[in-house]
């Protein structure tokens, strides 16, 4: 099989996840997009492991470790999102602005969404 097929599929899945992380507003949808990006990386690891015929099976072992770390990450992430929701009554990333830098009183905030993105 041509190595380009899994590599290009992984790239496209990664960029789909990237769009989701940047464009979504709900924190749980952002977590879903992060899962897509992690899966794209896993696909790359498996494809390169099969291509190189590694005797140590480095790529597949690393894929298993990545899957386990992703499971830990989603558990911690959901706990944090639930805590934020319980304290604030909303899980919108755009509204979590406590750490955002205030650009002066008269200056206002010309682009609220992009600054919230950076803070998130």
């Amino acid at each position: 099989m041509h190595l380009v097929y899994p590599a290009v599929l992984a790239v496209l899945l990664f960029c789909t996840g990237l769009y989701g992380v940047l464009a979504r507003r709900n924190a749980i949808l952002v977590l879903m997009s992060v899962e897509l990006m992690l899966n794209a990386v896993n696909l790359n690891l498996v494809a390169f492991d099969v291509w190189l015929r590694d005797t140590l099976h480095t790529g597949q072992a690393l894929t298993l470790f990545t899957i386990a770390i992703a499971a830990a990450e989603i558990g911690i992430g959901l706990a944090i999102v639930l805590l934020v929701y319980r304290n604030r009554g909303s899980s919108d990333i755009d509204r979590l602005r406590d750490l955002a830098e205030q650009a002066g009183a008269g200056d206002g905030d010309p682009q609220p969404d992009t600054t919230a993105e950076a803070a998130a």
């Binding site: 380009v4 899957i67 911690i76």
Partner: protein, 204 residues
Amino acid sequence: MTLAATAAGQGFLSPTGVEVAFVLVGIATLGAAVITVTTRQLVHAALWLVVALGGIAVEYLLLTAEFIAWVQVLIYVGSVVVLLLFGLMLTKAPIGRSPDADSGNRWAALAVALASAAALVWVVVDAFRATWISFEGAAQGSTEASGRSLFQYWVLPFEALSVLLLAALVGAIVLSRRTGEGRAAAADLKTGAFRAPAPREEQR
């Protein structure tokens, strides 16, 4: 091995059955992923994520990594998506279309994603134009091979990872435990009074 010799050996424009299956499943996976990040119904996003992750599991099977494929089905489709659905329910996600699922900088995000996709596809295609995966010989990712290498060469990372999972579990329990004000809310629930989740500043 030169490009011409490899191409002649592999048949550049005559795809094998595995390749056809891989591309078809890949298109379905990519479509499900795109729907996941663009749909306005939050629960549907989680369900389309199941399709995308299952498609990736099929791709692992086609790449002869069977153990990874079943781990993917067990952990991602089985537990991560269920966790996400629980998260959606516990944050009272609206059933049906929610018009504010996307933030205002959707077009900037689309531009960034398309630019990175174009750059990465160009680089990857340019780099791996002349490489082929050969499936001859024993399967690379059979359960026996994976387990043997995992417990022969990767024992220490494996054990460290189990400690990390334990730490993550304890951390998640500590984070989601109700303390202080939460006990007052529980007492209110017991006496029948219902209090909406108020910001913490007001409860102090």
